[in-house]
Amino acid sequence: MLSLRVTLLSGRSLSQARAKVSGKLSDKYARSVAICELDPDDMKSLGISPDQKIKVSTSTGSVVVRAVASSQAPHRGVAFIPYGPWANMVLSSETQGTGMPTFKGVEAEVTPAPNEEVLDLPHLVAEMTRRT
C-alpha cells in the first residue's frame, strides 16, 4: 500500500474555531477536526482524493481521519490536523522536562484507509480513555 512520510503539525484553523464555539459535541465540530490537510501534490502521490479516509500514524499511535486538500499550500511533506481529540491520538505526552508536549513537528506516516472508520467523538473518547 502507498504511504507517505510527513512532518505532522496540529494547530488552530478558522473552521475548527468556529465549529468549537458552536458546540464540541456537534457534527460540525467533528467534521472540522477529524481531518488531515495535505499538500495537493502529496495527495496525488498517495493516490487519494479529498474526503477519502486516511490513517495517520506516529510512534504514539494512529488515527483515521478524512483527507482535505490544504488551502495553506504549498507544504510538501507537511500534514496538518486541527487541534482536537483526533490529533491528540497521535501526539506524545513527553515534555522533555519543559511541561510542553510537542504538538507540532512530529514524524508521521500517512496511508490510505478506505476500509476503516472515522470514530465519532464519544467513541473516540472511549478509545482514548481505555485502560491499557
Partner: protein
C-alpha cells in the same frame, strides 16, 4: 432582563487573546439577535452560544451522567477535592480573573496544583522570558507606530482573525495604514496570513532555532556560511535582517509555532535575544500571540498571588514552581494526581492521548458553559454562565491591558457564573477541612 431591542456598543469579544472591544451586539428580549464588527469566530460564538447547553448540573451514577441539584453537585465536588491527596486545578484561561483568584484559594485549601492552559500553549514563552527578559509594548503603540510587523509561527487570519486588521492594516497616528507597513511572515506552510505578506519565508519544520540564530548573526553583520538555513536562502535572511535593522518601529509577533516545536523555550530564548540585539540598532519589540481571551489574565492573577504565572504547586503550604515537574501534563504522565477540577477548558480536546488516559482514571469536576469532551468523562459537571456574554469579569488582553467585560444578556435560569460556583465549592471544602469560612 432587557425586554426591548437594544444595540450595545463596544462589547468585548471573549474568544482569542486579541479581545477585540468594538463589537456592536443587538439584543432583543434578552437574546442576541446579531453582532457587527467581529470576526467569523466571534460571530459564531455570539450567535450560537446558547446551543446544546446543559441547564442543570450533572453527576455520574452507575457510569452515566444524570441531572442533579446544584447543592448535590457542590457537595460532591467539594468531597472529591477535599479528599484528594494531590488534585490538579486546571483551565482558567476562558474565565474571569476573579474566578482564577478563587481557584487559587481553593487550590491552597485542597493542597493541589493550579495550572492554566499556558502549560500547553505559551509555557515555553514564559520560561524564555524568565531567562532573557522581554521588550514589549501595547497594541496602541503597534498601531500608531509600527512600520515592520513580523508574524513568526503564527497564522492570525485563522487564530486571531482581526489582529492584522487592527494592527497592520488600519491607519495609525504616525502610519498611513498597510501601505506604510511591511509585513513578514515566517511559517512552514504558505498560510492565508503569508499570502497577505510582503515577504514570506517558508521554513523547514523544527528549523526555527537555526533560522533565528542566523538572523542574530545577520543583524550583527556576521557572515552566514551556509547558502540555505532551515530552508531559507542566506541572501533572503540578509535582506530581511536589513529590513529589521532599518525599520523605525518593528515588532515580532510569535505564535505556538515556536513553542510547540523542537527547541521549545530555547526557540523563545533566541527570539527574545534577537529582539534585544535589534534594539542596539533600532526600536524593536516582541509579543506572544496568546490564544485564549484571558490566558494572560490567568498568568497575571496567579503571579500576583503566588509569585509564579502557571504550574504552581501549593501542596506543601507554600508556592512551588518547577515547569516540567509541576506542569499538569507531567503530573498526569507520572500518575501522581488523584482528582481534577477543570474550569472553562477541555483537556480531553487539548492534551495528548496518554495524559488524557491518565486523566480519565481520576474523578473530574468540570465547570464549563458548554458540553465538552472532558464533560463526557467527568464525575460532576457544572454548566456556567459565559463571561462576556452572560456575566462580566476582568480579563487581560495579550498585550497586558486589563479590560472589564460586561454581560449583554442574562444567563439561563439557574446558571451561575464560574466565580460563584467556585466560591460555593470553596465554602464546602472549608467546612469539610474544618476551617472557618470568611463570609
Amino acid at each position: 432582563m432587557r425586554m426591548t431591542k437594544e444595540v450595545i456598543p463596544n462589547v468585548i469579544c471573549t474568544f482569542c487573546g486579541a479581545t477585540c472591544d468594538d463589537l456592536q451586539v443587538t439584543v432583543e428580549n434578552g437574546k442576541v439577535q446579531s453582532s457587527r464588527s467581529g470576526c467569523a469566530i466571534s460571530l459564531a460564538k455570539l450567535m450560537e452560544y446558547n446551543r446544546d447547553r446543559h441547564l442543570t448540573p450533572l453527576m455520574k451514577k452507575n457510569g452515566e451522567l444524570h441531572e442533579a441539584s446544584y447543592q448535590q453537585a457542590v457537595s460532591r465536588a467539594a468531597e472529591i477535592l477535599a479528599n484528594a491527596k494531590y488534585p490538579i486545578l486546571y483551565g482558567w484561561s476562558s474565565t474571569s480573573c476573579e474566578a482564577t483568584k478563587v481557584g487559587i484559594e481553593l487550590t491552597e485549601w485542597v493542597g493541589g496544583v493550579i495550572d492554566n492552559t499556558t502549560t500547553v500553549c505559551h509555557g515555553p514563552t514564559l520560561l524564555g522570558v524568565h531567562d532573557i527578559g522581554e521588550v514589549s509594548c501595547t497594541f496602541g503603540e503597534v498601531r500608531q507606530r509600527a512600520d515592520l510587523i513580523v508574524y513568526w509561527g503564527s497564522n492570525p487570519i485563522h487564530s486571531h482573525p482581526h489582529h492584522m486588521q487592527r494592527l497592520a492594516i488600519r491607519k495609525g497616528r504616525f502610519r498611513g495604514g498597510r501601505k506604510d507597513r511591511k509585513i513578514v511572515v515566517v511559517d512552514v506552510r504558505k498560510t492565508d496570513t503569508a499570502k497577505l505578506a510582503d515577504h514570506f519565508l517558508q521554513i523547514t519544520p523544527n528549523g526555527d532555532y537555526d533560522l533565528l540564530c542566523a538572523f542574530r548573526m545577520a543583524v550583527r553583520g556576521d557572515e552566514l556560511e551556509q547558502d540555505v538555513i532551515a530552508g531559507v536562502p542566506a541572501d533572503k535572511i540578509e535582506e530581511i535582517a536589513d529590513l529589521m535593522v532599518s525599520c523605525g518601529f518593528g515588532i515580532l509577533f510569535f505564535g505556538v509555532g515556536l513553542t510547540m516545536t523542537s527547541g521549545k523555550h530555547r526557540n523563545i530564548d533566541v527570539a527574545l535575544s534577537l529582539v534585544r540585539d535589534l534594539n542596539a540598532r533600532t526600536k524593536f519589540l516582541i509579543m506572544p500571540m496568546r490564544g485564549w481571551y484571558n490566558v494572560a489574565g490567568a498568568n497575571q492573577v496567579t503571579a500576583w498571588v503566588t509569585g509564579f504565572p502557571y504550574a504552581v504547586d501549593l501542596s506543601q503550604g507554600y508556592p512551588r514552581y518547577n515547569p516540567g515537574d509541576t506542569t499538569v501534563i507531567d503530573i498526569l504522565s507520572r500518575g501522581d494526581s488523584d482528582a481534577a477540577l477543570v474550569v472553562a477548558s477541555d483537556p480531553v480536546s487539548n492534551f495528548p492521548v496518554e495524559a488524557t488516559r491518565r486523566l480519565a482514571q481520576i474523578p473530574i469536576v468540570t465547570i464549563d458553559p458548554r458540553p465538552s469532551a472532558t464533560g463526557l468523562i467527568s464525575e460532576v459537571v457544572f454548566p456556567s454562565a459565559i463571561v462576556g456574554i452572560e456575566t462580566g469579569g476582568s480579563i487581560y488582553r495579550m498585550d497586558g491591558v486589563a479590560l472589564k467585560t460586561k454581560p449583554v444578556v442574562p444567563p439561563p435560569p439557574g446558571i451561575r457564573p464560574d466565580v460563584e460556583i467556585l466560591r460555593d465549592i470553596l465554602r464546602e471544602v472549608k467546612k469539610l477541612k474544618g476551617g472557618q469560612t470568611l463570609e
